[in-house]
């Protein structure tokens, strides 16, 4: 496992991401932007799911809130991009604080159902509040951020707007992911893992479980809001179905697809999901059917997702030539969280 860990994955991914505009294809840039943004969305959910052990069916609410807040600021108030983006994240975090307060008092199924209920309420508000959210029509024509300054830069200036925005997205998403990584590696993150492992025992080592779960909820909400804000711009419009509960299922599926016990798992899952979607929908309209079948195969055959399965396979290959202490493959599991 050490070989896998030694590869500086972060740099590899970042480098790969930066290459995309040079490929000169509108389509590739489009897909890559989609992947980058939804990776952040899925990774924010995994903070709750894989690290804290909380199953939320309403994560799309924060995605939507971030999208609406940012779009409204940029469109109606003419605010600049970065402050609006941050405001979107903060708005989502604020809602996460309020909703999360009630949700963490419940466990398991009840927790999941309350997150679902809150998400549906947010959806209903967005759907009905015509004056502010544009109701059913949503907010079309969200302005692009002002990235004209990019045109004056040497290499980047030659790119299309779509590519320039893609690079901005990559930068922002990279910063957010770095932030998430830091948080997960921090004592706070360690406590979350401990809570997931054994919440009862965590109490008896001095952990205020509810407070930590709420904090995780808020952080996850913040990053979901950022991803929503970016998506609203990318999509050139914000619509109520950003908040609908079936949208919440997407990051869940991406996380399971990629593997929830690996840090990069959800990102891998997002990429796989989007690419799969592109391919399948060009052949047939029965994308839900395909998704359902893929999901079932995952659940039964590859519960660790893509990343989990790969890591497991590598471990097995490494463990074979060296039959030393039986704990070798097991001890690696904690490395897998890399």
């Amino acid at each position: 496992m050490t070989t896998l860990k030694r590869v500086p994955w972060t740099l590899v991914v970042f480098a790969a991401a930066l290459v995309v505009p040079f490929l000169g294809s509108r389509f590739y840039t489009f897909v890559a932007t989609d992947i980058a943004i939804l990776s952040l969305f899925a990774m924010s959910l995994n903070l709750l799911l894989g690290y804290t052990g909380l199953v939320s069916f309403g994560h799309a609410a924060y995605f939507g809130i971030g999208a609406y807040a940012c779009a409204l600021l940029m469109k109606s108030a003419g605010a600049p991009f970065l402050p609006s983006l941050v405001a979107g994240g903060l708005m989502a975090a604020a809602f996460a604080l309020v909703f999360g307060f009630f949700c963490v008092r419940l466990t398991r199924i009840y927790f999941a159902m309350l997150t679902l209920a809150f998400a549906q309420i947010v959806w209903a508000i967005c759907f009905k509040w015509n004056d502010v959210t544009g109701g059913e029509q949503g907010l079309p024509n969200v302005p692009y951020p002002d990235i004209d300054w990019m045109s004056s830069l040497p290499v980047l200036g030659d790119f299309r707007t779509g590519d320039q925005f893609y690079l901005v997205c990559v930068l922002i998403v990279a910063l957010c992911i770095a932030g998430l990584r830091r948080i997960i590696d921090s004592p706070f993150g360690r406590v979350l893992t401990v809570i997931r492992d054994n919440a009862e025992r965590a109490q008896f080592i001095g952990v205020n479980v509810r407070a930590h779960q709420l904090a995780a909820f808020v952080v996850a909400g913040f990053f979901a809001g950022i991803s929503g804000a970016l998506f609203g711009i990318f999509n050139r419009g914000v619509f109520p179905d950003f908040c609908y509960w079936t949208k919440s299922a997407e990051p869940l599926i991406m996380t399971i697809l990629g593997g929830m016990s690996a840090f990069w798992g959800p990102a891998v899952g997002a990429a796989a999901f989007i690419v799969l979607n592109q391919q399948i929908t060009s052949y047939t309209e029965y994308w839900p059917f395909t998704m359902g079948v893929v999901l079932i195969i995952l659940l039964f055959v590859f519960p660790g997702g893509i990343a989990g399965t790969l890591i497991g396979a590598v471990e097995r290959l490494r463990a074979r030539p060296q039959p030393d202490a039986g704990s070798a493959p097991d001890a690696r599991e904690s490395d897998a969280r890399g």
């Binding site: 199953v55 398991r108 009840y110 209920a117 309420i121 299922a249 599926i253």
Partner: protein
């Protein structure tokens, strides 16, 4: 001030909706009570039950009273489907985290939704009322179709029947024991596996029956699976997950809230569902008749 007959009409409407919801939600509650699985695909079973009923009626076309065998046939087919799903697939997930079970049932929703589209297309379909129950009666200024009356009598009868079986028979005792402590039950020699399969089939039967019986009243459309499952969740949460009479009470309450809520807050009927669910989960998560959580 609306007339009495108008109010009474709303009340009857709410009652009819409630009875259907009860039929479906009771299946959901039964499955959750024993298997501890929240079956998202329950609504899909309801929808397929409706489509199957339509299909069977069509095949028996010349026969006048095709509806009743069709409804029963559809419900039994759904029960069989449930049994297959549980035996072959779901049971392997019991040992895993709940998330996997939930995602599995969600995958079923995706699959069954598209299967329905493939087999029956996206057009609205409907079934006419069985001739034996055509017509209606006038009560207090409101026209109540005989069919609706029949439903309003049938569902409580089914409720009482189930209650009786659960409380008074040996089979019922085993089921209740399975709900409380599966390990001990297994140790006592009861074949827990078949109890689970059986319960899943019974629950699915109820969903399929509900779908089949609703066809003369509501048209069959794609999306009815998602719509009903959210309502069934509310009902079960209000009454208390796993509580049989709780589901009945929850259905009655929800039916009336929906009926009269639309009058009072027409713009906000879309909220009613979610706000009600959130309120119950915040204030009294175990519902009206459920067991307190801790």
């Amino acid at each position: 001030m609306p007339e009495f007959s108008f109010l009474f009409g709303q009340f009857i409407g709410g009652l009819t909706a409630a009875m259907f919801l009860f039929l479906i939600a009771s299946g959901l509650s039964l499955i959750f009570g024993v298997l501890r699985v929240l079956n998202f695909a329950h609504g899909s079973f309801y929808m397929i039950g409706a489509y199957l009923a339509w299909q069977l009626v069509r095949w028996m076309q010349p026969a006048a009273e095709g509806f009743w065998p069709a409804a029963l046939g559809a419900a039994l087919a759904i029960a069989l489907l449930g049994g297959i799903v549980e035996r072959l697939l779901l049971r392997h997930l019991y040992a895993r985290e709940e998330l996997y079970q939930l995602l599995f049932t969600y995958a079923l929703v995706l699959i069954l939704g598209d299967v329905a589209k493939i087999l029956w297309g996206t057009q609205q379909l409907s079934v006419s009322r069985p001739p034996s129950l055509a017509g209606s009666l006038e009560l207090l200024g409101v026209t109540i179709p005989y069919y609706n009356l029949f439903i309003m009598l049938l569902c409580p009868t089914i409720a009482v029947g189930f209650w009786y079986i659960l409380q008074r028979t040996a089979v019922g005792r085993i089921v209740r024991a399975a709900a409380l402590d599966r390990e001990t039950l297994g140790a006592l020699g009861a074949n827990v596996g078949w109890v689970y399969t059986g319960m899943f089939m019974v629950g699915s039967f109820l969903a399929g029956l509900g779908g089949a019986l609703v066809t003369p009243i509501k048209s069959i459309v794609p999306g009815m699976d998602v719509e009903i499952i959210v309502e069934a969740f509310i009902v079960v949460v209000i009454g208390g997950l796993g509580s049989f009479w709780g589901t009945f009470l929850g259905a009655l309450i929800y039916g009336q809230v929906l009926s009269f809520g639309i009058l009072v807050f027409p713009r906000f009927s879309i909220f009613a569902v979610s706000v009600l669910m959130a309120a119950i989960l915040i204030l009294r998560p175990w519902g009206l008749l459920g067991r307190p959580l801790k």
